[in-house]
Every structure is written in structure tokens, then in C-alpha cells.
Amino acid sequence: MIKYNIKFSSSSNLWDINSVIVIIFATLISLAISVSIIYLNSIRLDEAQSIWQVSHSVSEILDIVGRDVHVPLYHIILHFWQAIFDNSIISARYLSLFISIISIPFVYILSSKIYNKQIGLMTTIIFILSPFINWYANEARMYSLLLLLAVLNSIFFIDILRKNKRISWIGFIATAILGIYTHYFYWLFLLSNALFYLINYRQFPRELFQKFSIVGIILILSISPWIYYVVNLGSAANTKPILKSPSSVDLFNTFSQYIFGFQPDLINSIILAAWPVVVIIIFTSLQRKLKYSIFTTFVAIHILIPIGLVFILSYLRPMFLSRYLIISALFFYLYIVYIINTYFRKQSLILYIGLIFSIGLALFLQITSPYTPAKENFEDLSLYLTTKATARDTIVLSAPFIIYPFEYYYQGITSVETFPIWDRSKVVSIPNFDSSQIEGQVNKIKDGHQYMYVILAYDQGYEKEFKNYLDKNFEKISEREFSPDLTLYQYKIN
């Protein structure tokens, strides 16, 4: 019989009739919201890349994903999913939605195990309404899978600490292996688990240390073939936007996005300006006998370690993106609900209502507003050019990788180029920008054409220089923004 020095919340009887009704009702709401979003939004760059990548054979997928600095599990699943259904963006999004819906009861189980059923329910409701979670529940990317595997892994991890049963170990190892093949950042999640365990290792039986060490070795051995494979590929594809080193604004944006999703700059700047609210929360959360339980440490570590570590490491190599840190979002909700639950009943009720209202409003704005910054309206842009541009014109895309989402919709007859010029049939990587080549490349593109339609998005550091050159040398006929940071310019070139 194992003796523990710490107290665990009771995990028995998590499912009473009220909880089941609330979870089912909330899931249906989530489903309704998501299904409407799936059809609403244009394909985005990342999604277009997913679709393009999984349209190849499995061995080619491994090659492409390996060069794309990702791990292949999601792509392989999506490959077979699309083989069963169809290769549209809608079907790809349904995979993410399916995974996200499956996550809901597990989010409830995890948060109830960590605290209690009340906190579990509230966290699940916040999770369902969260504009951030909704965004990635409807995106043809691996983030909903990443989150599901983290939730499952956490449940097994807590069960191990509590019961140390074989089934929990099997689940823990399986989800960990799947997780590390879903996204490299899953390692940060595992690191947080390890850190939590090491901080508190005295409170658990000694045998766990040995077993966790063995699991660590298993995980390293599991990822080794892939690492060997990637190293042998030799080079990265360089088909992604270049990231900048993060600032403090990016850091707080991450937390803001976790709660309010992707909001236009004006709203976002107001949200960020209200950061002293955090101080209000810190002050008012001073409650008598509010002791931090061991699992509050668990929650805090899963928020602070991944975000803090990536933020710091991004000064060496920029990689700070809120979606990579989606696992921390869930723990952030859990922490907020935990804090609210420590207030007196009336206060917490008011705060819950305020929070749910704010999140709901943010979700509504995110869905309906054309200014939502993460929206990329390639669909309207492509349709516009399909009707507007003729065979005598040319279309130039910069940065070059936006050709993926553009191509997905574009049905026109106009020739399509990129700047810098990128011949995908010959080279995998996008050529580097060289300012001395602007004139030569533009002359090469413009030859024999009347109008040049230039689409600028995802500034890679040369957008301004490129546009200045065009403005200086050609007559600008029109300009139209299709979504934030996606603008079309029409120039008369001959």
C-alpha cells in the first residue's frame, strides 16, 4: 500500500447527472459554433500548407514535414482522413473539430481531478467558449490534437501519482509518444510534468522516480528514428514566415489571446492596457486560508514554464507563437477558474458571469468581424482576381509561400509569380531576398504584361522595399485590403 504525504481531490463520481447535462449541452453549443465557422472562413496559409503536404504519399509527407520543422503524426492522420472523405479544406477542418469535441469530456475530467467538479465544469465551459480554442478547433492544423494528447497525458499522469496503476502508465507512455510525434512543443509539456514531479518527488513513492526515468528513456528512443531521419534530410524547407524575437507585448498578447482570441488592434490594445486588472486579481485573491495546493503548482508550472522558456529561447531563435503554446491555454483557464472559485459566492458568481459574457462577446467578434487579424481572406481575393485579371496581366505574390492558399481558390487564367521568384519545381526552399535583384526580377515578371496585381502579405522584411520600388517605377491603379495584412495592389506596367 502506497502512502502519500499529499492530499488528492476525490476523483470518484465525477459524472453526476448535472455534470453530464452541462457537458452535453456545452458540447452541442461548441459544435454549433464550430460548424458555422468551418464554412465561414477562407483557407489560411498554414492550412493550405497542410492540405498541400498531405496530398502526397506517406513517404513524401515524411520528407516534406521533416523539412518543414514539424513532426508527422497529424499529417499522416489527415492524409488518411482525406483519403476516406475528400481533400477539401472543409473536410480537413472537420478532423480538427472532431478531435476538439472529443477533448471536451477529458478537459472536464482533468480539471475535476485537479480541483473539483465545480471547477471542472466552469473550466470546460470556458474551454468551449474560448475564441482561441475555437479558432484552432476549426483550423486544419495539429493544435487540437496536440491539446487532446496533453489533456489525456495529464489525466494519466495524475492517476499515476494517485494510484500508480499499470493502465495509467500505459496511457501515459502512449499519449506521450503520440504527443511528441504531433508537435515538438509537446516536449515542453512533458518537461513541465517532469519539473512538477521533481519539485515534489519527496511526496511520492520512490519507485516512481525509477519508472519516470525509464519513461524518459522510452520517449527519447521513440523520437530517435525521426531525429535521425530529419538530420539526414540535411536542410529545412524555409517555406514558413520568418518570426521575430518576441516583445513583452507578444507575451501579454498570448494571455490576451487565450481569453479573448484574435481581436482587431484597437480592441487588443485596450485589452492589453487593462493589465492592472491582474494586480486587482492578485490583491483581491488574498483570501484567508487560501493555501496553494500541490496541483495549483502543477497548473502554474504548465502555464509559466512553456511560455517563459519559449519566450526566453526566442531571443536565440524566434519561435514564440501562441498556438504553439495552446496547452498552456487550458491550464490558464483552469487557474482563472480556480482563483474565481476562491472568492465568496456572490463575488465569484459575478466574476463568472462577467468572464463568460466577455469571452462570449470576444468569440462573437472574432467570428463576425472582418478585421480579425488572424483571418486571411484568400478566398475573396482569389475570386476577385479570377474575374478581374486577364491573360495579359500578371499576378505577383509576396511573400512567396502565400501561393499555397492563393492557389487553393484561384481558377483564373492569369500567370502567377512570386517575389522573390520561386520555381517550386526546381527548388524546395524559397530563395533569399536580395535587394540588388529587385529590378531584374520585376522586369522579368512584367515582360509582356499590361497590369501587375501584387498581393502583399506576411512581410518577411522586404515588403516595404519591394513596394517602394513598384510605387516609384509604375503607376498604381488601385489598392484593396481583403483582410488584415492581406492587400492587393494593381500597377500599370506597360
Binding site: 492530499k7 501579454f252 491582474v278 492578485i282 483581491t284 488574498l286 483570501q287 486560508k289
Partner: protein, 524 residues
């Protein structure tokens, strides 16, 4: 009350909880100190000043906060120190109950409880200052003493307030040790057995025990007053004990007569006589002991006016030590004792600092002037971990008893502290006033005019800014700060309104017996 956390101890007892488990880990305290210093350096040297006057005000405030945090961390570094105690050491003791017009029933309870103390040899004295304080019931006190068979010393010539009362008694009592109880502090039977043993060390001058308010849940005032006391009599006094710098708190204390006389008696020149006397005692090389156990139970000020007067008296007395005693160059005190006295006394400077801090957002709204060039998120990045850590250290070191209400009462007392500061600097004369032991009913909102004025000015500032600049992120940030300040003031303002009594649950209701014994009257 809903406390849903499953990990909360179900044996929550307000009387003991603040005294237990107050030792925060050294790692936490070290990290707290480092983060505070980093924050200070960052805000002082790495953010470009905007308006230099406001920047100066901000830096003064931050310097003070750094001092408070670092001195607090030093204070609570070790809250587990133990002193030598020999329970068989049981010399004769005089129990002095200071009286100055308190209701006779309150005095009776205290006197009877004193008589019930389980100890071989002690004498009880009612130090009756009712006559000199022109209280109607001074004669009744004498009759009570007769009724209970205890001694009564009634002063006829006023001098030195409570300290003078005690000094007067010391001339007429003979034991080498004496205990001081306020009239409303009821001792436990084991009070002397738990305290006298420390005097086996011949250098121990006094033993202080906590001042516990058994009426803490009577109304908003008693609750607010108690929330502040918890931190002081918990981690702070326990920490001071390890530095031999506990100071007397006026009641529930045992003193060695020799030490007090060597220090010149109880100090009569300061309205916080206990604080200054402790300083003189320590500077003569005597030791002090703190016993972290509730051995007597008293009453918190029951109405806002009484609370206000009590706080003013403490603030003025403490500030006088800063401005009128040469603390830093006192040769008798060790470095750590100087630091401890300075830390305790300087707490009452926080009022002016809080006022400076809370004025900044309002100044911005009216003038567009701010202390720092706007780099709000960078400041947030450093400020949030800093304030979180500081609050967590407060929580941890109070064994999670420190609450927002305690913080709100401390910060909202800013005007009391400022008034005390003005009184000290301008040499105003303030008489010693006894904290009322019965509730004075009424509306004391007028005492909080600065708070009301702040709220009105804040609202006006917001409207003015919207009118002249529209809604932008600066408005939101400064409005949020104003909201925080107002939230801090709300419990304080509420306490100044006519009070609603809660269901009173005292922790340790006692039954009292009337003991028909002879009495001895001593009249000065």
C-alpha cells in the same frame, strides 16, 4: 462563507492559526528579495522618465516599497527561534490592570480572570486613572477592587497618561516582575506559567504575548483591525523575536522591574509609550522574548472613530521615534535592532507613499503627464511577477491568514498616517486617548473625506480625459489603477458607515465568578 479548496485545513481556528507555520522557505524569501531588487533597478534605471517630478515621486515610492519588502523579509527570515524557558522559575509577580474609565463590567471580567490565574504568588492591582481622566466611574472601580479583594491604586495627579499610571504603580509595588493588562484583556489561567519561565535568563527584560481580539467578527471595524493584527503578532513578532527586537505592545506583557527602571521607567513623553520604552530597554542591553501563544483575549476597537484614534496614536508614537529619536546612531542597539525599529516605525510613512502612488493616474488624466515614457507592457512584465511574489510571501508568512481586507485597511489608513506625520512634524499636542471598549454608534463617513474626494476626482478625471482625448489605451490603464485604488478603499469606507453587527461568536467564552474577598485600596 465558501471556501471550496479541498486542501484547506478544516480545523481553522482564528485564535491559533496566525501563529502556526509562519516560516516561509528561505528560497522563497531569497527569490522575493531578488525579484524586488530587480524590479526596483528596472523601474529606476531602465525606463525613460517622462515628467521628472512625477518620476521622482514614483522613485521615492518604489524606494520605500523596496525598503518595506526587504526589511519584512529580513524580519521573517527566521520565525522559529526558541528562547530558554524554565517553568519552575516562579518568582512573585504584580499584575497591573490599567483602567481609565472603561465600563465596570469589562474591568470586572479582567480582574476576575486575573484572580483565576494559576500561579503560586501574585498580587493584583487596578491602576485606576479614572479620576485623573475625569471618568464618572472611577469610584466604582475602587468599589470593584474592594468587592473582589484586590488592590486599587487611584491616581489624583495626572501625568504621563498610561505610562505615568504604570510608573506611579511601580513606586508602590514590590515584586521584581510585573504584568500589564489593559482593562479589556482577559488573561488565561496559564498566563504566568507560560511566560515567567523566560525570566530565568537574567537579561530578559520583558515577555510579550499576542494581543488577540476575541470580538474580531463583531463588525467590519473589528474585523479590519484584527486582520492587521494577525500579520504583526504572527510572522512579524516571531521574526523580531529571533532578532531580539520584539517591542512591548502595551498589554499582555510581563516585565522585569529592574530593566524598566534602568531604562527610566515607562516612557511618558511618547503616546506610544510601550514602543519607545522597548527601545530604551534594548539599548541598555536587555533582551526581549515573544511567546507566540494567545494567553489573553481583548477587544478590538468596535467603531470607526475608536479605530481611527487608536491608529493615529500608534502612527504618531511610531513616527516620533523616527523624527525625534536618534535611532541610527543609538549606540546601545545592534544593527539588526536598529533596522527592526526603523522598519516598524517607518510603516506609518506608507500613508504618504500610498497617496503619491494613487495620485499618479489622476494627475495623468487631467494633465497627460506621467512619470515614465509609456512602455506599459514592459513594466507589466516586471511588475506582475514582483507584486505576485510579494503578496504570496505575505500570504505564506501569515500562514495564509492575511486577506484583502487586512491589506485594504492598512492601505486605506493613509490619511491617518499623514495626519500623524503632520502632527509630528508640526509638534502638535495630542493627548493620550483610550481606545473605546464599547461601540460608539454613528456615521463616521466624514473621517473618510479624502477617500470620497479621491473617488469623485477619479470619476471627474476619467470624464475629462474622455472629453479631451477620447478613449484610448492610456485611459484604460489609468482607469484600471483608479479602480484598484477605489476597491482598496471600499472596505474602509464601508466600515465608517453605521455598523451592522454580525453574529458575534467569541472563541473562548468564559464564565465569571464573583469572589467575595477583602480588598486593599491604595490612593495616590
Amino acid at each position: 462563507m465558501k471556501l471550496i479548496n479541498n486542501y484547506i485545513s478544516m480545523n481553522y481556528t482564528p485564535k491559533i492559526i496566525f501563529l502556526k507555520n509562519t516560516q516561509a522557505t528561505k528560497y522563497l524569501l531569497t527569490i522575493g528579495a531578488i525579484v524586488s531588487v530587480i524590479y526596483f533597478i528596472f523601474i529606476t534605471f531602465f525606463i525613460t522618465p517622462s515628467n521628472y517630478w512625477l518620476y521622482g515621486a514614483l522613485i521615492v515610492g518604489e524606494t520605500f516599497h523596496l525598503w518595506q519588502i526587504v526589511s519584512y523579509i529580513i524580519t521573517i527570515w527566521d520565525t522559529n527561534s526558541k528562547n530558554t524557558c524554565e517553568t519552575k522559575f516562579q518568582p512573585e509577580v504584580d499584575i497591573l490592570i490599567t483602567v481609565a474609565g472603561e465600563p465596570i463590567e469589562i474591568i470586572r471580567k479582567t480582574a476576575i480572570a486575573a484572580k483565576n490565574i494559576d500561579y503560586p504568588k501574585f498580587n493584583i492591582y487596578l491602576l485606576n486613572d479614572g479620576f485623573v481622566a475625569k471618568k464618572d466611574n472611577w469610584k466604582e472601580v475602587e468599589l470593584l477592587a474592594t468587592e473582589l479583594g484586590i488592590n486599587c491604586i487611584t491616581r489624583r495627579i495626572p501625568h504621563g497618561a498610561k505610562a505615568g499610571n504604570i510608573n506611579n504603580a511601580l513606586k508602590q509595588t514590590k515584586s521584581k516582575f510585573f504584568v500589564v493588562f489593559d482593562a479589556d484583556h482577559i488573561p488565561n489561567p496559564d498566563f504566568l506559567n507560560k511566560t515567567m519561565g523566560y525570566f530565568i535568563d537574567s537579561k530578559v527584560a520583558f515577555v510579550q504575548t499576542p494581543q488577540y481580539y476575541k470580538n474580531y467578527n463583531q463588525n467590519l471595524v473589528t474585523e479590519g483591525a484584527w486582520r492587521q493584527q494577525e500579520l504583526f503578532f504572527g510572522a512579524i513578532c516571531k521574526g523580531k523575536n529571533s532578532n531580539n527586537s520584539v517591542f512591548m505592545c502595551g498589554t499582555n506583557m510581563v516585565l522585569r522591574k529592574e530593566a524598566i527602571l534602568e531604562a527610566g521607567g515607562m516612557c511618558e513623553t511618547n503616546i506610544a509609550e510601550d514602543f519607545l520604552t522597548s527601545l530604551f530597554v534594548h539599548s541598555k542591553g536587555w533582551k526581549s522574548v515573544y511567546v507566540p501563544e494567545v494567553l489573553a483575549e481583548g477587544l478590538a476597537p468596535e467603531d470607526f472613530m475608536s479605530y481611527y484614534k487608536q491608529q493615529f496614536r500608534w502612527a504618531r508614537g511610531s513616527l516620533e521615534i523616527i523624527f525625534k529619536q536618534n535611532l541610527l546612531f543609538n549606540k546601545g542597539l545592534s544593527f539588526i535592532q536598529k533596522l527592526q525599529y526603523l522598519a516598524s516605525a517607518s510603516y506609518y510613512l506608507s500613508g504618504i507613499i500610498f497617496l503619491l502612488n494613487m495620485a499618479l493616474p489622476i494627475i495623468f488624466l487631467f494633465t497627460n503627464q506621467e512619470p515614465l515614457v509609456n512602455s506599459s507592457m514592459t513594466i507589466a512584465l516586471v511588475f506582475i511577477p514582483y507584486i505576485y511574489l510579494v503578496m504570496y510571501i505575505l500570504q505564506r508568512s501569515s500562514n495564509f491568514t492575511y486577506s484583502f481586507k487586512g491589506l485594504a485597511f492598512s492601505m486605506s489608513s493613509f490619511m491617518i498616517h499623514i495626519q500623524a506625520l503632520i502632527a509630528v512634524l508640526s509638534n502638535q499636542k495630542n493627548g493620550f486617548s483610550i481606545t473605546s471598549k464599547t461601540q460608539v454608534s454613528g456615521n463616521f463617513i466624514h473621517l473618510n473625506w479624502p477617500h470620497i474626494l479621491y473617488i469623485l476626482t477619479g470619476v471627474l478625471g476619467i470624464l475629462y480625459y474622455i472629453y479631451s482625448n477620447g478613449i484610448n489605451s492610456s485611459l484604460i490603464a489609468n482607469t484600471t489603477w483608479i479602480v484598484l485604488n477605489i476597491m482598496i478603499m471600499i472596505p474602509f469606507i464601508m466600515a465608517s458607515l453605521p455598523l451592522k453587527q454580525k453574529n458575534i461568536v467569541f472563541d473562548n467564552q468564559k464564565s465569571f465568578q464573583t469572589m467575595p474577598v477583602s480588598s486593599k485600596l491604595t490612593i495616590d
